[in-house]
Amino acid sequence: MMLAAPDVLLPTMLLSGGGYAGLRHSGYESGSAALLMLLLGGQAGILVAIALPGHSLWLAAGVAGLAASCAAFAAREDVRRLILFGAALAAIQLCDPMGALLAAGMLPAAVSIGGRHYDGREAVGLYALLLFLPVLTAATLLYLGPVRAAGLLQPPGSWLAVGTPISLPARLAVAAAPIVIAAPALALVWGKKPGRAIAFVSAAFLFAGLVAAWRGAIREPVTLLAAAAPLTGAAVAALPEGPWRSGQAIVTCASCLGLSWAVLILVWR
């Protein structure tokens, strides 16, 4: 098992600990939360990344942090959640080469995500606050360009190939795969206020993947597919309270788990 690899061990710990805590905080009982974590951890991207070398779970960890902080900010726009949301937008750039694109994809929705109305000057102010940390991170990474080109401070994981002879439809399909896997969960919260944040993160993720694919780069598939698990988890955490909530979440996660393996087999074939 490649669990001991640095690109896998630490993000696995973050994903499992943070994921469990997030599900408990959203109201799931400990047993349900543990079962949900097993189902999420059993998704193809996560298991294969843990089992085989050459993969990374940092993108998944970054997406998890972004989804959680975005949902928290949407629920209540207080200072601490604002800081964490900005920090997540900054951190995703350090997690993965796709991170900057993903952060950029969040921009159109960032200010309106909580549903509050802001006039022009207020919106500019809120954007300035949200963008400060990510822009500072991007500028620092640019400044450290020569250092990074020497192989140091590279975000973990890699592009599979740039300009390799893989057809555009195939590249786009791989980029969209994580959203397809998480679709059953996303569909449950689509259009509802708590799920709006998750929908935005998913849309940004799709945007980032499609842009990268269109430009000829394709992200290593398992690393990409692993990001479906935190999107699924964030969506079930946003499910409204109700007597069938736990059952609904378990069935949904099981569906996403099955989909993930089906998609992985298709990709590998």
């Binding site: 601490r80 207020e122 919106a123």
Partner: protein, 546 residues
């Protein structure tokens, strides 16, 4: 004797005459067997007077006449206590002496060690100095980030009103004035707008006896029976804390609040303060209301000042409160339990940020300061010169406060704990040290960038270049972000982008810090008066900020 009127530590066997007169709102007997003249005709008070003077006729006297008569009778004692009370009782806590002998010797020893090190091993000395300075700069930035995080989660004191009118205690308002003729009418209107029973409120407007312009404006102002005017006899030091101490001895409220001449407190502030005091433990001796400006959008300078204040009062002070670190007070809208204020001998008349010093002294007595969820709006200086003089005074005062409380660090730890010592270094000391350091780091960075590996500046290049660049950018980036966060709690988001200009604003603060340092040497107790009434913004009460 005079100092005992003031520093009421209960060590005297008898109550001094002035204290008794204040408590019973009465005049001293003019002659044995004469009438007792009092402003408080309650049965309880009359009984107290009878115990002291025996059964004598009682005559009513108005509040204004009572205060005027007491002031005339005890003027020299009031002045003596106001000027020398703290110094006589606790000389080690008075800023009358700028630097203690031990501090002076210590500074010389450190300087000598530094020069010796620079002579023997210049490169190592340069590296050590660079690292220490940069570490201090970054540590201060990180501490403020921690305070913002802690303050962001602060729920504030409970200010929900409790109980009927009848339960409200007597409240004293104290407003020192000096050359404030322009703002007297607006001040009086703001104080009249305060929502508090008239018969429980006394308002002392404290001017200097030779400030004819202000006294004339007060004489023609529309003052009702709650107000009375005091005239502090001329004398050095001529400072706001001395005037406040003078009035403190005549005020009879269970709680006292101090305001500035240009203040406009929210009308329910006193009610909130009473509720908060009652909900808080006895150890909470002071409540600091939030401050901000009603002319925040007037100029670039007022916008930056508003950002400054928003960060300070909405995040940093609540952060200090949450972490139980001693809190330097802001200069106005400090609400006190009067007994606690007298126990610490009031304000230090020789400290030009007497408010900051008071917060630390409260902590040394085991008392706490909490923040009050109510805002007082002030006038931000519009002209750069006015701003610079005010900020220089604040920097000088913070240096004074740090020097006073660092005379005996071991005793400070005993009184206020390790948190008190660290808070004093990082928050009080850090405020002026980062301001003094900032331009040095910029200069080191620019010199190493411009001159590169030139031999003459080589000692700058290696030790200072990297450390200064890292500290400069990391520290300034963090400070900039915090400045932008400042107005968020009030949702003044239109101000936020102006925070990006904070590094330029801090260079102005650095200028003020050096000016304050110079004044500490040549004129340590000089009070650079801030002019008010210069804003063009209409004084519409309650107008929302930008």
């Amino acid at each position: 004797m005079a100092s005992n009127l003031f520093c009421n530590d209960g060590s005297l066997p008898e109550e001094p005459e002035l204290a008794f007169c204040r408590q019973t709102q009465s005049l001293p007997l003019e002659a044995p067997g004469g009438a007792i003249r009092t402003n408080d005709l309650s049965a309880e008070n009359l009984a107290r007077l009878a115990v002291r003077h025996g059964r004598l006729p009682v005559a009513a006297i108005s509040k204004g006449d009572l205060i005027a008569a007491l002031e005339q009778r005890f003027r020299s004692e009031l002045t003596e206590a106001a000027t020398h009370g703290l110094e006589r009782r606790h000389p080690e806590l008075s800023a009358r002496r700028v630097v203690a002998w031990g501090q002076g010797l210590g500074a010389v020893a450190i300087l000598a060690a530094g020069l010796l090190g620079a002579w023997l091993a210049p490169f190592a000395a340069g590296v050590t100095l660079a690292l220490l300075l940069c570490l201090g700069f970054v540590a201060n930035a990180l501490f403020r980030a921690v305070l913002v995080w802690a303050g962001a989660g602060s729920a504030g004191t409970d200010t929900s009103p409790d109980g009927a009118d009848a339960a409200l205690p007597r409240y004293s308002i104290l407003v020192p004035l000096y050359r404030e003729a322009r703002v007297v009418e607006a001040l009086v209107a703001a104080l009249r707008a305060l929502d508090y029973p008239s018969d429980r409120l006394e308002i002392a407007l404290v001017a200097e006896a030779d400030d004819d312009e202000t006294l004339t404006a007060l004489a023609t102002a529309s003052l009702d029976e709650r107000f009375f005017v005091l005239a502090v006899p001329p004398g050095l030091p001529r400072t706001k804390p001395k005037a406040a101490n003078y009035a403190l001895q005549l005020l009879s409220g269970e709680f006292i609040v101090i305001y500035d001449a240009e203040d406009r407190p929210e009308p329910d502030q006193l009610l909130k303060a009473v509720a908060a005091f009652r909900a808080a433990p006895e150890s909470v001796a002071c409540l600091q209301a939030r401050l901000n400006f009603y002319n925040a959008r007037e100029t670039w300078l007022t916008r930056m000042f508003a950002l400054d204040y928003a960060l300070w009062f909405d995040f940093l002070l609540p952060g200090l409160e949450t972490l139980r670190v001693p809190m330097p007070l802001g200069g106005t809208s400090n609400h006190f339990r009067t007994d606690a204020l007298r126990a610490i001998c009031g304000w230090d008349p020789y400290n030009v940020t007497e408010d900051a010093d008071l917060g630390i002294r409260l902590a040394r007595l085991g008392l706490r300061v909490a923040t009050l969820d109510s805002t007082t709006y002030e006038e931000a200086p519009v002209a750069f010169g006015t701003w610079l003089r005010q900020r220089s005074r604040w920097m000088k005062g913070y240096m004074q406060t740090w020097l006073v409380h660092m005379r005996n660090p071991a005793r400070l730890v005993t009184h206020a704990g390790i948190g008190g010592l660290l808070g004093l270094q990082l928050f009080v000391g850090g405020t002026f040290l980062t301001a003094l350091l900032n331009p040095l780091l910029w200069a080191a960075f620019l010199a190493s960038t411009i001159f590169g590996d030139a031999p003459a500046t080589n000692f700058l290049n290696v030790p200072f270049a990297h450390a200064s660049a890292l500290s400069l950018f990391a520290g300034n980036a963090l400070f900039t972000y915090l400045a932008m966060l400042g107005p968020y709690r009030r949702r003044w988001l239109a101000l936020t982008p102006h925070g990006l200009a904070a590094p330029f604003y801090w260079l102005l603060i650095s200028l003020a810090a050096y000016r304050g340092l110079w004044q500490l040497v040549v004129r340590p107790w000089h009070w650079d008066k801030t002019e008010h009434g210069l804003t063009r913004e209409p004084l519409i009460f309650g107008e929302p900020a930008p």
